[in-house]
Symmetry: C2
Subunit: 148 residues, 2 copies
């Protein structure tokens, strides 16, 4: 399951994507408009900032703005930052591979075989769908629109 935190992150990013990058938006504005707990959102935006997705400005006229254009921010990256690897098993992750502690033989593991397929098809979607892809377009041809 996607965490609440990841949903908040996506909502915040989509909100920032609608704003002008030259006018940073207050955390409190995003929190109010998207009904996200403000203090929680602070932590989330900080995390997104550390990973280079947003810029922040301190002081009285501070706020947040996207660090890239909406077509350069992919859902896969956001989810990895907030929730960790896309794969359902550590041993099926390609960006954060880890052995399963209790796995006898990874080469022949039937579960891993299946979950690798799932992780790949998931990543194919999430790493090719940007904020821009879902902002204007309807639900049709989303994946094709992402260049697959």
């Amino acid at each position: 399951m996607l965490s609440q935190k990841a949903k908040y992150a996506m909502r915040a990013l989509l909100y920032l994507a609608q704003a002008q990058p030259e006018n940073p938006v207050f955390i409190s504005e995003i929190a109010d408009q998207q009904s996200v707990p403000k203090k929680f959102l602070e932590l989330i935006l900080l995390d997104l900032k550390r990973h280079g997705l947003v810029h922040s400005y301190r002081g009285k006229k501070g706020g947040y703005a996207l660090a890239k254009t909406p077509d350069q921010i992919y859902f896969g990256q956001v989810i990895r930052i907030i929730d960790g690897p896309l794969a359902q098993l550590p041993c099926a992750s390609r960006t954060a591979y880890r052995r399963c502690d209790d796995c006898e033989n990874e080469q022949t593991c039937e579960i891993r075989q299946v979950m690798l397929q799932v992780r790949d098809s998931t990543a194919r979607i999430l790493d090719n769908t940007s904020l821009a892809d879902v902002m204007v377009k309807g639900t049709a041809e989303l994946v094709e629109g992402a260049g697959i």
Copy 2:
């Protein structure tokens, strides 16, 4: 993430799939061979039984056996029984749809759009890959072999 419980369930089913259905297997044998905590495995098999995936026999010569042939048991069903819906969001599930509590407008929700795509591509794999599909075959052509 796939729960440990779901992994145990799959391992147990794959183990039963290798056995003759006319000779039920003791929980203790599966637990030993697959290194699954026995009492925990009891609960898991009971759950799989209630959902019709396995048969059980009580008393001294009791044990468990598959209730279907391995080509009729799909990973999707196993995961749904043990871990719940495949979708990453309640509102993106097709077998167990539920509204997200904090969603303003489901029709226009960008996050849902994306997660619906992910859930569909995941289900396409998991609901078309059976125990039999991974038992003999190698890793190549897994999905094609499942009839996609």
